[in-house]
């Protein structure tokens, strides 16, 4: 097997090779400390504020696609074979339209978050996307600004996204595409093992990944680093072997047959969203609220399952649908129901040499799915209570299937067994739902923490069932506060989103 021992990437428009001083060096550390590119800021070092956002270009199905990445938690070595653009690179051909609009329209105050907003908006610009207001909000909700109140930033984004690319950018994107395409043909595996602190391995195919796992029993595998990255940036953890599986071909395929969607475990939320929301609208809406654009572009469905979070957000929704998963080691492959994967808090049914490779999601279900995420903030917040409900009734309105799955209520994502029992065989009515809601208290004894008290969680778990009932009683559903589209009270928007400011 061919190995390379240098990271190869485009920094800006220049192809460079890097032997980092540490195998777990983040993009942010590299930019600021090694390259003196200090435009990219550290606001939180945990991927939650967006001040460190850089633009990463990579090939998806042969096309060059850009996505925003939190540089503070992304390992530099994981960017092998990709392009990194920072706020500095954007003015290579004179002021970028996004930069000009941000400055002219008073969208900067203290300016510390500004480079992150510039790169997030420029990502849309590079991809040629002109989002509607809601999508623009979703694209920027991972960038926190404490000064402006966001209005001028929205105005700047709207102005900038209306302006075309100059020739410079067409040429650069074409050149980057060519370069990444050539690199993609070289299947050699990146192995950084020259540093006593640790080893970094980046395989391209599943066989290589499984082989590496067999050789390194102490390996930490990761795909998007939206969780593992924090172990290093926040907890200063020593991870002696890092295996990056985010670019393993077999893990990034999506296949569909009559009954199942089979998704590679390395599919990021963003790609899953476009596929799953067609099948299950409510699930699409839930994914929209997971993390931020930066997180949804990197974080994977597989990682969300494999890290065994007791909260979610994907496992309860997938369990409600009856999803299954495939686990694979060098010698063995098995398929099991997702609900059986979670054993207890911090413990999953996965051997150290196994990788979660596929997620199987049933299609064309006859019943109704609703996913409700309750958190202090609508966007980019860890859930306090997640309720994902699937029920199926026969022609006499008798409930034949009831999957009531919760996150945040126990040590693992879990079915509300008693509440489900209270529904099965009963008519789908308010009376049945109220009885089931009462039964929830038998199912869960949740914790109190900074996100919610046990009392709140218990009450909300029951109330979400009532919401499920009300929500499924009409075609339009309930107006939901996390869903501005459903709030028709105001069509009016701010004065200077329509016109000018002073």
């Amino acid at each position: 097997m061919n190995h390379r021992n240098k990271i190869r990437l485009l920094l800006g428009f220049e192809a460079i090779e890097i032997v980092p001083e540490r195998h777990d060096l983040t993009i942010l550390e590299y930019l600021r400390l090694n390259q003196g590119l200090t435009g990219t800021k550290e606001g939180c070092a945990e991927g939650d504020c967006g001040a460190c956002t850089v633009i990463v270009g990579e090939l998806v199905d042969g096309r060059l696609i850009y996505s925003p990445v939190n540089a503070c938690i992304a390992f530099l070595a994981g960017m092998d074979g990709k392009q990194i653009l920072t706020v500095e690179h954007l003015s290579a051909d004179g002021l970028h339209p996004v930069q000009a609009a941000m400055a002219q329209l008073h969208a900067t105050q203290c300016g510390f978050c500004t480079p992150g907003f510039v790169t997030s908006i420029a990502t849309l610009h590079l991809n040629g996307i002109k989002p509607d207001q809601q999508s623009l909000g979703d694209a920027l909700a991972g960038n926190l600004c404490r000064c402006t109140g966001y209005g001028p930033i929205l105005a700047a984004a709207a102005q900038a996204l209306d302006s075309p690319h100059g020739d410079f950018w067409w040429q650069q994107m074409s050149a980057a595409h060519d370069c990444l395409t050539i690199w993609a043909q070289d299947q050699s595996m990146l192995v950084l093992d020259g540093n006593p602190a640790g080893i970094f391995i980046k395989p391209h195919c599943l066989a290589d990944a499984l082989g590496a796992m067999d050789r390194h029993k102490n390996a930490t595998i990761y795909a998007g680093a939206t969780d593992v990255g924090l172990w290093v940036s926040k907890s200063c953890a020593d991870l002696p072997v890092l295996i990056h599986i985010g670019d393993v071909k077999e893990l990034t395929d999506i296949a569909m047959d009559q009954d199942w969607i089979t998704m590679g475990a390395g599919i990021a939320y963003d790609r899953a969203l476009s596929c799953l929301q067609q099948e299950y609208n409510s699930l699409g809406h839930l994914i929209r609220r997971i993390g931020s654009a930066q997180v949804r572009g990197r974080g994977t469905i597989g990682g969300n399952i494999a890290n065994g979070s007791p909260i979610g957000d994907m496992p309860p929704a997938l369990m409600a649908l009856g999803a299954e998963i495939t686990l694979q080691s060098a010698k063995h492959k098995r398929r099991l129901a997702l609900k059986d994967f979670f054993i207890e808090y911090g413990k999953q049914d996965r051997a150290p040499n196994e990788i979660l490779t596929q997620i199987h999601i049933p299609r064309h279900l006859k019943g109704q799915l609703r996913c409700y995420k309750i958190s202090k903030r609508f966007d980019q917040d860890i859930t306090a209570v997640l309720g994902c409900f699937y029920s199926e009734q026969d022609q006499n309105n008798i409930i034949r299937k009831a999957n009531l799955c919760y996150g945040g209520m126990a040590g693992i994502p879990a079915h509300a067994i008693h509440a489900q029992q209270a529904m099965l065989g009963q008519p789908f009515s308010l009376k049945t739902i109220e009885h089931a809601a009462h039964e929830i208290t038998k199912d869960f004894k949740p914790l109190s923490d900074m996100r919610a008290s046990a009392e709140y969680r218990t009450q909300i778990a029951a109330n979400l069932l009532k919401r499920f009932y009300a929500d499924t009683q009409s075609e339009a559903g309930l107006p939901l506060l996390d869903h501005p589209d459903s709030l028709s009270y105001f069509t009016e928007i701010s004065s200077y989103l329509n016109g000018d400011r002073a």
């Binding site: 600021r32 800021k41 500095e88 941000m102 400055a103 510390f112 909000g137 966001y150 966007d379």
Partner: protein, 717 residues
């Protein structure tokens, strides 16, 4: 003779006062080239300091074992309280209760007890985790209730009153009681606390001078406190800051500790030392907005007009005084908000807890006081079943120079303009029509309910500690006609620098781009006050005005003498000066003045007039004037889950004659969103061990772009 505008200035100067000029750093910020302290090129051999916090909230330090820290890779030095050569204190009011490093005992969780200095920040952070600290715990007092019961206070209770509150409450037709729990708030400036200390030459007296780049709203205080910590005169310490990545009060008094640690480290190692707190340490180790509890009793007539009121405000000040006395005082000054409250007594408790010392945050106690007052007003409306807006309007101060206008602290409200502002908002925002629509909606909608409120604000402008109301500026004209501006105010994003530059540009009638805006430095302007109390533009603008005006009068005097005309015939026009019947370019006049040995540099000074407050009698004029505003907000809540959303907001705000309307609109809008975050989603959660559990954006949620109301109209009055 009519003078035509020159070709260079067809429309007058660019960026004089009242122009909506973009923020002076906007372009650089958008390009990533605006330098914050951590972006300054690091000098060779720069070391990195990380503080080490105590693991318990209260107790005696039995053992502080730092052997493993010292032995860790990359570690160069370790600091403890024993390394402080001067005074181990960084308190803003010299109350001697804020330690650089705690020594014998710890008083709140994560109170710094040591600091590690290493060759990289990453190695310093790793080493800091190896400290072994043994604490013999004593019971900690963690919240308002516990402190109140234990009579744990940082200062004596303080109250003032107008008239006779007790009597008025007893004799009123109606009374209502209300209470409110008001949470705290983290500043969450995007740039965390940072100081970069660089050792300079040795002074003949034997000590080493030091230069500190510090992200602070109060360079002078950092300078003086660091000098005390080092045991050197203030002239041995220079503090400089070009810009902060946000301050919001959090860098008013609490930047000092990190500057002191960096300075101690720099002197101990002889190398440049940077202390940049990571987000967790920043949120755990520095103070926040004070949380309060409030209890109110109000007596009123059938119309809801207040006859007497009494309020008891209890504030959690944390472990030390810091700025808490002034903050709680300001809560008292704002309890009346926009309403005439005769016979009003306001009693306050300033509670000491084993939590990090709470500090300044935008509004400085004012918002908490107003919130309590507004909640009391609503209690009247509920009791009478009347619309709260009616009750509000009936209780407003009378108006410009009309009675009744006496506040509970004896200051007359002479500039009251809120009646017209409220009426305007009521009309433009269709208050009554929307009220009717919402009532109808709420009858129909079982789960989602909507609500509407129109609330005014009256905010006192000035430091309530009168001597702080002073500012200095320094203006240089170079002989090529370019201008350098410096003043004691600091730039934290609020646009102070560009506003003051506009003042100077206006005086000399040049484009503001001719005015170089420079970093705040204690070496240029001494003994400044914090950039705070909504006074930055007023005070520094006036100081710069005075400096520039002095130079201008020297120029006029020179030109009149040289060209033998009366001074009244020397007139500054855009980019040029009319001298009698001739015009010469501005820069020509400056070159001539230089050759004639006219002093082209001047320091300016300003002190706010007419203010004085006597704390002993609780009477006086703490504020030079009031600023007014009003907001009409509509919200929706989900009765099944408690989720809420602000749907629409209309704001009018009085800023006087705006120096820069675009900047002011930005402040109003950003300030509103910060308040929305405070009251609707941000929550500081301490556990029963006194540990803050919401210490990073993953757990502490400030508003995102999607929390911005769908309808959001902001207008200057």
């Amino acid at each position: 003779m009519s003078i035509k505008p020159s070709a260079q200035y067809p429309d007058g100067i660019q960026g004089g006062v009242t122009a909506s000029l973009a923020h002076d750093s906007g372009m650089r910020q958008a390009m990533g080239s605006a330098q914050f302290v951590d972006d300054l090129p690091e000098l060779p051999n720069t070391l990195h300091l990380v503080p080490i916090g105590a693991p318990k909230a209260r107790g005696i330090i039995k053992a502080l074992n730092l052997d493993k820290v010292r032995a860790a890779t990359g570690v160069v030095a370790v600091l403890t309280a024993d390394d402080v050569p001067g005074l181990n204190d960084v308190s803003p009011t010299h109350s001697l209760d804020d330690f650089v490093l705690a020594s014998s005992s710890v008083r709140f969780h994560a109170e710094p007890v040591a600091a590690v200095i290493a060759t990289s920040r990453q190695l310093a952070r790793k080493a800091a985790r190896l400290a072994e600290i043994e604490i013999e715990e004593t019971p900690a007092i963690l919240n308002i209730e516990q402190a109140d019961q234990a009579n744990s206070i940082i200062s004596d209770d303080y109250e003032f009153q107008s008239g006779n509150s007790d009597h008025a409450l007893k004799s009123a037709q109606h009374t209502a009681e209300s209470s409110l729990i008001i949470g705290g708030q983290d500043q969450f400036y995007l740039e965390g606390q940072i100081s970069y200390a660089i050792p300079q030459e040795y002074d003949p007296a034997g000590h080493r001078d030091i230069l500190i780049y510090c992200s602070t709203q109060h360079p002078s205080e950092v300078q003086h406190n660091v000098a005390n910590v080092l045991g050197v005169p203030a002239h041995a310490v220079v503090v400089e800051i070009r810009r902060m990545g946000g301050g919001f009060g959090g860098k008013e008094s609490q930047a000092t500790q990190w500057a002191a640690l960096a300075a101690l480290g720099a002197l101990k190692t002889g190398k440049p030392v940077k202390c940049r707190l990571d987000r967790d340490d920043d949120m755990i180790m520095t103070g926040k907005r004070h949380d309060f509890t409030a209890k109110m009793q109000v007596g009123f007539d059938d119309q809801g007009r207040i006859l007497g009121a009494s309020a008891q405000l209890k504030a959690r000040c944390g472990i030390s005084k810091d700025l808490s006395d002034a903050i709680v005082d300001r809560a008292m000054f704002h309890f009346d908000n926009a309403y005439h409250m005769p016979n009003c007594k306001i009693h306050t408790r300033r509670l000491k807890t084993n939590t990090v010392s709470n500090t300044a945050f935008r509004g400085f106690g004012g918002p908490q006081g107003m919130l309590a007052g507004e909640w009391m007003i609503e209690s009247i409306a509920r009791k009478l079943g009347d619309d709260p807006l009616n009750v509000r309007k009936r209780n407003l101060y009378a108006g410009l120079d009309q009675a009744p206008n006496d506040t509970p602290y004896g200051m007359a409200v002479k500039d009251f303009i809120l009646k017209d502002m409220i009426q305007s908002l009521e009309d433009s925002g269709d208050y009554w029509q929307r009220r009717a629509e919402i009532k109808a909606f709420n009858l129909e909608s079982r789960i989602i309910k909507r609500g509407l409120a129109l609330t005014p604000v009256k905010f006192g402008i000035s430091f309530t500690t009168s001597f702080l109301n002073q500012a200095g500026a320094l203006v240089h004209l170079y002989k090529d006609g370019s201008i350098m501006l410096n003043h004691g105010g600091t730039e934290m994003g609020q646009g102070l620098f560009v506003k003051v530059a506009q003042v100077v540009a206006e005086i000399f009638q040049v484009d503001s781009s001719h005015v170089k805006i420079t970093a705040t430095s204690t070496a240029k302007i001494p003994n400044t006050s914090a950039t705070a109390a909504s006074s930055g533009s007023d005070m520094n603008g006036m100081a710069a005005f005075n400096a520039a005006s002095t130079i201008k009068s020297r120029l006029i005097e020179f030109a009149a003498e040289k060209y033998k005309i009366p001074e009244s015939q020397v007139i500054f026009l855009p980019g040029r000066v009319r001298i009698g019947n001739d015009e010469i370019p501005f820069k020509t006049l400056i070159a001539e003045a230089y050759l004639a040995r006219v002093q082209l540099s001047c320091a300016g000074f300003y002190k706010t007039p007419e203010i004085a407050f006597d704390r002993a009698t609780g009477k006086g004029r703490p504020f030079y004037y009031f600023a007014y505003g009003a907001a009409l907000s509509e919200v929706a809540i989900d009765c099944l889950t408690g989720e809420s959303r602000v749907l629409g907001v209309d704001i009018v705000h009085d800023v006087g004659k705006s120096l820069n309307p675009a900047i002011d609109l930005g402040q109003i809008e950003g300030g509103f969103m910060q308040g929305l975050g405070w009251l609707m989603m941000e929550e500081l959660h301490w556990d029963d061990q006194g540990r803050l559990r919401t210490h990073a954006p993953s757990t502490y949620k400030i508003p995102t772009i999607n929390d911005r109301p769908l309808r959001f109209n902001v207008n200057l009055w």
